[in-house]
Amino acid sequence: MTILNENAPDAENVGRSVWFRIALIAVACAVAAFIPGLLPNLFYVHIVNLTLLSGIFALSLWVIYSVGQLSLCHAAFAGLGAYISAIISMRLNIPPALSLVLSTLATAALAAALGAVILRLRGVYFVLVTFLFGQMFTLLALNWAGMTNGANGLIGIKAVTLFGISFGPRPMFFYLAFAMFLMVLVFVWALNRSTFGRAFNSIEQNINLAETCGIDTARYQVIAFAIGSGIAGLGGALMAHYIRFISPDTFTFHNSVAYITMLVVGGRSLFWGAVLGAAFLTPLPEFLRDFEGLQHIIYGAIMIVVLRVMPGGLISLPRTLARIGGAK
C-alpha cells in the first residue's frame, strides 16, 4: 500500500521552483552588472563593496547560529583568513586568486580542529571560550611580528587578478565581491535545504531531542562551525586583497559583535535575515556621518526601534505590517 503525502511537492512544482530561482539569480546578475555605473561615484561603490563583504560575514555567522551556537570569535576567523591569504600571497608569491581558496580551506580546517574541542561546551560557556579565542588571535597577530608584522600590519597586499584582469579598482572589485557573495548565498541556501540543513535545524530547535532521534549533534555542530568559519575566512581574505592593508585592529571583538548585531537586527530565523541585517547596518553609519556627535545616539535609537517594533528582525517586516493592517 502506498501512502501519499498531499503536502509533498510534486516534481513539476520542484522544477518550477528551481527555474524560478535560477531566473532570480540571472536577474540579480543582470542588475548587478550595471550597479557600479549607476552609482553616483566611487564612494558608493566602496560602500556597496563593504556591504557585500558584511553580507558574507553575516551569512557565515548564520551557519554557525543554525546549530544553536553563538560565536564571539567570528572576526578572528575572518582575520585568520585575511592573514593567511595576505602572507602566502606576499611571501610565497602565490596568486591571490589561489590564496583565497587556500586560506578558506585552512581557516575551515583550523575551525574544525578548534570546534572539535570547544563545541562540547554549550550556551554561555561556548560563548566565553570563543571570546577568549578571539582575544588570543589578536594577541598572536600583535606579538608574532616576524610573521604578521605585529601592530604595524601588512601593507601593500596584492589585489586579486584573474585571467589578467585586476580586481583592485573599486568597480572591478564589486564584480568579484558580488560573485563571491552570490556563491556564498546559494551555497548557504542549498546547505539549508540539504540533509545537513535539516539536521542543523533540528539541533537548533532542540539538541537533546535531535540526539535522541539519532542525529550526531557533535559532528554536525563541528561541520557547521567549520563551514561558517571557513566562509568568514574567505570574507576576511577578500577584504585584505581589497583594502590591501590589514592589522590586528582590522578584525577585533567589536567586529564580531557587529556581525551578531547584523544577524539579530536582520532576523535570525532565516538566512535572508543575515543579508538584510548587513545591507541595513553597513551603510547606516555613513548616512549618519553628517550628524557628527549625534551619530552614535541616532544609530542606537534606530536599533532599539527596529528591535522593539520587530523582535524577529527586519525579515519580519511583512508580518509586522500585516499585523498592523489587521489591527486596523
Binding site: P40, N41, L42, F43, Y44, H46, I47, L50, L142, A145, G150, A151, N152, G153, I155, G156, I243, R244, F245, S247, P248, D249, T250, E286, R289, E292, G293, Q295, H296
Partner: protein
C-alpha cells in the same frame, strides 16, 4: 546718471564675483571622539582657523579664480576601517582638494594607498615611517615622530636628570609598539636600562596592577610617551598615589594641559614634558588665546603645527596656480622655506631618516611643570637638546 552708473558697476562686480567665486572643500579625518579626541579636535580647529582666515580675506586666489574654503570633517574613531571609509567619502563624494589627517599609524597605513592612487595630499600625524616613505609622495607630516625627537631628548633626560632605570607603559597596538621600540632603544643607547615595559589595551582606566609591577622592578624614572592625553593624566595620578617619587617624563606627543586637568597640579608638579614648540612665543600665545576664545578649555599643541602645514598647502596652491594638480603643489611645497607659522619657523626635514623631505620641523623644547605650567628648561634641534 551717476546713480545708474554706480548700480551698473555694483551689479557687474557682483556678476564678476559670482562667476569667479568657487568653493574648495578641504577634508579632515581624525579622532573626533574617544580618548584621542583632544588631538582630533586640535586638527579640526587648525583647519577651521585656516579656512576662517582665508574666507574673511575674500577667499584664496589660485590661477585667476577665488575659492572660498569649505570643510568636510569625519570621525575616524582611531580605527583603520573607519578612516578608510571616511577618506573614500572625502576623495570621491566630497572631492576634497586635500586632506588633513589621519592621526595614528594604522589609519594612515590603511588609507595612504587610496590617497596616493588619487593624488590627494595628506597632512598627517601618523608616526609610522609610511607617512614619509618615498612611495607615498603626497603624504606630509605636521608633527614630529618619536623617531626624530627621542634621541636628543632622551640623551638630555639621562644626562641631566641622571635617569638609570626606566619604566614605561604603552598601548598594545601599532602606535604603542612602534613607540616602545623607538623609546627603549633611545634609552639603551643613552646608557639607561629601559627593560621595564608593559602594554595595555586602549580604553583601560585602572593601571594600578601594571604600575605596581613596574615599581617592583626598582625604576627611578617613568616614561609617559605613547599614551593618549587623558590616559597619561591617569597614569601620573595613579603613579603618585602609589608613592612613586622619581621623575616622570613625557618624551613626546603634547598632552600637558590634559595631564594637568586629569592628574591635577600637585601630582603633575615636576613633570618633564615634551613641548612641540617654544610655548613662550607671542605668536603661539595669540593662537592659544584665539583657540580658547573659540572653543574654550585648553589647546592641544598639535593645533598650531597643523595650522602652519595647512597654510603651506594653500601657499603652494597659489604658487602652483592650481588646486588639483597635486604634483605641482607638492613641488611648490618643497620650495617653501622659512615659513613663519604661529609655532615658529618651519623647515622640511627627513632625508636622513626616510630619504624624503616631507616632515615639518619646528624647534621644540623640554619643559618642567612648575606651579601648574610648563617652563622651558631646554631647547632642541634635530641633533641635541641644551
Amino acid at each position: 546718471m551717476k546713480l545708474s552708473a554706480l548700480a551698473f558697476g555694483a551689479s557687474a562686480l557682483a556678476m564678476a564675483s559670482a562667476a569667479s567665486a568657487d568653493t574648495m572643500t578641504v577634508g579632515l579625518v581624525g579622532p573626533l571622539s574617544g580618548g584621542a579626541a583632544a588631538w582630533g579636535s586640535a586638527m579640526k580647529a587648525a583647519i577651521e582657523f585656516a579656512a576662517e582666515d582665508i574666507n574673511a580675506a575674500g577667499g584664496l586666489e589660485v590661477g585667476g579664480k577665488t575659492y572660498t574654503i569649505d570643510i568636510a570633517a569625519y570621525d575616524s574613531h582611531y580605527n583603520p576601517n573607519d578612516a578608510l571609509t571616511a577618506v573614500n567619502r572625502l576623495v570621491f563624494e566630497d572631492e576634497a582638494a586635500f586632506i588633513v589627517g589621519p592621526l595614528g599609524s594604522a589609519p594612515l597605513a590603511a588609507l595612504v594607498p587610496t590617497t596616493t592612487e588619487n593624488k590627494k595630499i595628506t597632512i598627517t600625524a601618523g608616526f609610522t615611517p609610511v607617512a614619509a616613505a618615498p612611495e607615498y609622495p603626497y603624504s606630509f607630516r605636521a608633527v614630529l615622530p618619536t623617531e626624530v625627537y627621542a634621541k636628543p631628548q632622551i640623551n638630555w633626560v639621562v644626562k641631566s636628570l641622571g635617569a638609570e632605570k626606566i619604566g614605561s607603559l604603552f598601548p598594545n597596538d601599532e602606535t604603542g609598539q612602534a613607540m616602545s621600540n623607538d623609546i627603549s632603544s633611545a634609552y639603551e643607547a643613552a646608557g639607561a636600562d629601559a627593560s621595564a615595559v608593559e602594554f595595555y589595551e586602549r580604553g583601560r582606566v585602572d593601571f594600578v596592577p601594571l604600575l605596581t609591577r613596574l615599581l617592583a622592578q626598582g625604576i627611578d624614572t617613568f616614561e609617559l610617551d605613547g599614551s593618549p592625553p587623558q590616559t597619561a593624566g591617569l597614569l601620573v595620578r595613579q603613579l603618585r598615589e602609589l608613592g612613586f617619587e622619581g621623575n616622570i617624563v613625557r618624551t613626546g606627543g603634547d598632552a600637558t594641559n590634559d595631564i594637568l586637568a586629569v592628574a591635577g597640579p600637585d601630582a603633575s608638579e615636576g613633570l618633564y614634558v615634551h613641548m612641540e614648540f617654544d610655548g613662550g612665543l607671542d605668536s603661539v600665545q595669540d593662537y592659544q588665546a584665539r583657540y580658547i576664545e573659540a572653543y574654550g578649555g585648553t589647546m592641544n599643541a598639535f593645533s598650531p603645527l597643523f595650522y602652519s602645514n595647512i597654510n603651506m598647502v594653500f601657499e603652494a596652491m597659489k604658487a602652483a596656480g592650481t588646486i588639483s594638480d597635486a604634483d605641482a603643489i607638492v613641488a611648490e611645497m618643497a620650495k617653501i622655506s622659512g615659513y613663519e607659522g604661529p609655532a615658529g619657523e618651519v623647515s622640511w626635514i627627513g632625508e636622513d631618516f626616510w630619504g624624503t623631505k616631507r616632515q615639518q620641523f619646528v624647534p621644540y623644547a623640554i619643559g618642567k611643570v612648575t606651579g601648574g605650567k610648563p617652563e622651558v628648561v631646554a631647547t632642541c634641534t634635530v641633533d641635541a637638546c641644551e
